[in-house]
Amino acid sequence: MPKKATKPKRRLREKRTKGPKEIAKAIEEIAKKIVREINSSKDPIFVTKTRGRSNVSFDEKTGLIKLGKKTTARNFLNIGHARKFMQTMLVMAKTHEYLKENKTAAIREIYYELKHTLGESKENTFEDQSESDACIVDVEHAVDTIRERLNLHANPKGSLYGDITLRDRMHNNDTFNCLKLGRGGWSIMSRMEPEEIEIRKVNAKFVLVIETSAMYERLVEEGFAKKHKAILIGTGGQAARGTRRLIHRLRYEKKLPVIVFTDGDPYGWYIYSVIKQGSMALAAHSEYLACPDAKYIGMTLDDVERYNLENVTEKMKEGDIKRAKEMLDYAWFKTKEWQRQLKMAISKKIRIEQQALANKSLSFVADTYLPEKIKNKEFLD
């Protein structure tokens, strides 16, 4: 069982946090630069960081996926850039307004706020949300902040259970203990910044992050949290930003070790890796979101043999196999153990779900599987 006080090996250096006024100011500076270019008859240019694999790297030291220093320029007079330039200006102006007026919006809402037809044409400012989402990322990078500080947020997802007391500073300073909300737990919000949600008190030895909500419910039901002094976080698939931010804060504010428990398949492992190292898409924000020393407890393909679960494996789909092959090349999966695991998946073409442990007995996961692995520190690394 991990000791309560495990300190993170390395304190992550979060960038100095800019306040709303500073961010609004940064947006204004960019806009003014562009206006100056227009006035001097130069091609107006918006500069942001380059995204995609070419500018993403795995930092072995911190264990984080990080965005490099390459920048990308969008010239309005280049027809290949013009539409995106226009879209970025719209997003900039709208977030500027939010900051000024102290409003927040979901990323789908800003999409709808800005969507309209262009003049007499059949073209819209944005055809679908993926376009405005991309512009949001560009603006985040250009002013060097995270979307939450642009007063934007994604959809919420995920549940929290355990002896942890939170305070919502934006909502009457509501203070509540997540062990006392019945078995449902608390719905994690999309914005989990310290300015809004304060972690008042935690009485736990570690955080267990669980991929499926059904397994989360099983562990609540079995009294796992109380018995093992655990905070349970159900992500319901890929962890939402708010959930990742909460896990990150529990690790770095409250020094709790983080253990991840997913299905034994490339998708589950990818969920784990995003919690641990961050993702390529949000490489710029790994310092805010990732937990490089998170541990992976299962499921592994070794569990299949060890617990006689052959009957309850599923066949991997072609897409899963393809994903596993890609993952072989990711720097953060280059450890001996993970390479072995991925190759086993590729050759056996099977996957194993968390809930397949029910094949032993309903309480097997809570009584045997997790306690044994935690006790013996059997983590995949």
């Binding site: 806009a31 206006v35 227009i38 309005f76 027809i79 330039f85 102006a93």
Partner: protein
């Protein structure tokens, strides 16, 4: 092993010998009329029109006359029709008329190496035989040479002997020049389709822009295809075989009928492109005396000659032996009849294939407009128009070298992503002093490698132009779209920047518009300069080429 039977072998061999008989070619084709394309109700009728029309056109062309052909098909009963074809050609003499319509394998074409539509001397007589077989009636022919005297005659064939039978010969006065034939047929059917006489005539008009055809179909409807060119194709010339294409057997067979007394003069007079230099080279390469009598050439000696031919350089066959349609002519009639949005026509230089026969390929690719085959539901499909010596080929597309060549082209490379479903008409014309048909029905060209390759090269050349056109079209549309796109985005950009910076929106908008217009102007200018440069380079290349010629 089987038990051997009791048979008197000698009797059998002799009994068989008694049954041994010879047969006339008329009997052969009477029994095998499907080989002449005279099977299938619709196909037979198209074949009949085809045989008469090709004869008329050949005659006109050889006499240097602009052809005017009138065709009429009347329905006499169920699957029973009368066909009348009248031309303004030179007319036929009484003796020839009998053989032309009443004897198979007789005619002016078979023995001469000359680009003509007919080449076997079977067609018209085959029709007479078909009429006779299905109706018992002779064929009526009127001929006049324009000097006021005409004659009419009825013709049938004696199949046993392959000899014409003439009857009801009558001379009369009329100022008619040409040949008119009228014949009745059963077991045929007129129905409009991709393979009907009407489509045949339409395509004939496309490949023969100097021809006027008036066609009255069985419903009485008139279809008139007026000539789009007044230029008569130059008269086809009989051609000597080109040395590159002849076989040993050919050489021996020419040697037997030459007028020359010596092999050296035989080579000089009886082959195309045989210059003094080439003759000298050949004489060095053979080990016998070129002064010997050509009639005494042995197989081995002829083999030496052919080997020497292969190792010697000759000019390509002379163009004047072939009468291609001509780029301009193809363009005109294609535009008039098919009406594509874009048309690219390519005429290749003459080539030779095995046998020493010169041939020449012309292709046209029409895209957009009314090009392509239109289905009942309005969808467009690619259409392939095949021609051999200006005669449309409507049947047996599957086994034809032209189809094979068209299908072997990677059309995607030429901007036609889904060729089969594109609005495109591909026109391929092959002219040759001898077209290697796959059968006596003359509807498909045998897939001889040289021919397929040549057609493919022509199509690729034409395809490149088509693709340039399609690319230019796309580019023009793109330019327009870019301008519009910039103008659409400017108000949005101005308004957004104005909101953040409090600069006046209108001022920003005007500035941006000017920026865009300046940029587009600059681009256009650059393009013009680049184009001018490219043209200059092109001219240079051409003039260099001329000098080296």
């Amino acid at each position: 092993m089987a038990k051997e039977q009791q048979i008197d072998i000698t009797t059998t061999a002799e009994a068989l010998a008694k049954e041994f008989k010879e047969h006339s070619v008329a009997e052969f084709f009477k029994k095998n009329r499907q080989m002449l394309g005279l099977y299938g109700k619709i196909r037979s009728l198209t074949t009949i029109i085809h045989e008469y029309v090709t004869n008329s056109l050949d005659a006109c062309e050889e006499a240097n006359i602009l052809p005017e052909i009138e065709i009429k098909i009347d329905e006499l009963g169920p699957e029973y029709y009368e066909v009348t074809v009248k031309d303004n050609g030179p007319g036929l003499t009484k003796e020839v008329v009998g053989k032309a319509f009443g004897q198979l394998l007789a005619g002016t074409k078979f023995h001469r190496l000359m680009q003509m539509r007919g080449q076997q001397g079977i067609g018209a007589a085959g029709c007479t035989m078909f009429s006779q077989m299905t109706t018992g009636k002779p064929v009526k022919v009127i001929s006049g040479t324009g000097n006021g005297k005409c004659f009419a005659v009825e013709i049938s064939i004696d199949a046993k002997t392959n000899q014409p039978k003439l009857s009801n010969y009558k001379e009369f006065k009329r100022n008619f020049r040409g040949v008119a034939v009228r014949a009745k047929f059963k077991e045929v059917l007129y129905k409009e389709s991709e393979q009907s006489p009407l489509e045949y005539i339409r395509r004939t008009a496309i490949a023969n822009p100097h021809v006027t055809i008036k066609f009255t179909d069985p419903s009485g409807k008139k279809h008139i295809f007026k000539r789009t060119s007044n230029k008569i194709p130059k008269k086809p010339k009989a051609v000597k075989p080109h040395p590159k294409g002849v076989t040993v057997d050919d050489v021996l067979s020419y040697a037997r009928s030459t007028k020359a007394q010596k092999v050296i003069s035989f080579l000089k007079n009886d082959f195309d492109r045989m210059g003094a230099k080439a003759l000298e080279e050949i004489s060095k390469k053979v080990n016998f005396d070129l002064n010997k009598d050509p009639r005494s050439l042995t197989w081995e000696e002829a083999e030496q000659i052919v080997k020497a031919f292969r190792e010697t350089d000759f000019l390509a066959p002379s163009t004047d032996t072939l009468s291609p349609i001509g780029e301009e002519q193809i363009k005109k009639s294609f535009q008039t009849i098919v009406k594509p949005e874009f048309l690219s026509v390519v005429s290749r230089k003459p080539k030779v294939y095995a046998g020493g026969f010169a041939f020449q390929v012309e292709v046209g690719i029409g895209v957009g407009g009314e090009a392509g085959r239109t289905l009942a539901n309005g969808e467009k499909k690619a259409e392939i128009m095949r021609f051999a010596n200006k005669v449309p080929l409507l049947f047996d597309a599957g086994s034809c070298a032209i189809t094979k060549a068209v299908q072997s082209v990677d059309w995607k490379r030429y901007g036609l992503k889904d060729f089969e479903n594109s609005p495109v008409t591909v026109f391929v014309s092959l002219v040759s002093v001898y077209v290697p048909y796959t059968g006596a029905g003359k509807q498909a060209v045998a897939d001889i490698d040289e021919i397929v390759e040549e057609i493919k090269l022509a199509l690729m050349d034409s395809g490149r132009r088509t693709s340039r056109y399609l690319a230019a079209l796309r580019k023009e549309r793109e330019k327009q779209m870019r301008r519009e796109a910039f103008m659409k985005y400017i108000p949005e950009v101005s308004s957004a920047l104005a909101k953040i910076t409090k600069v006046k929106e209108d001022k920003l908008k005007k500035k941006l518009e000017k920026l865009v217009l300046d940029k587009l102007k600059l681009e256009e200018l650059e393009e013009k300069i680049e184009k001018a440069r490219a043209e200059a380079r092109g001219k240079e290349v051409k003039s260099n080429a001329k000098e080296s010629n």
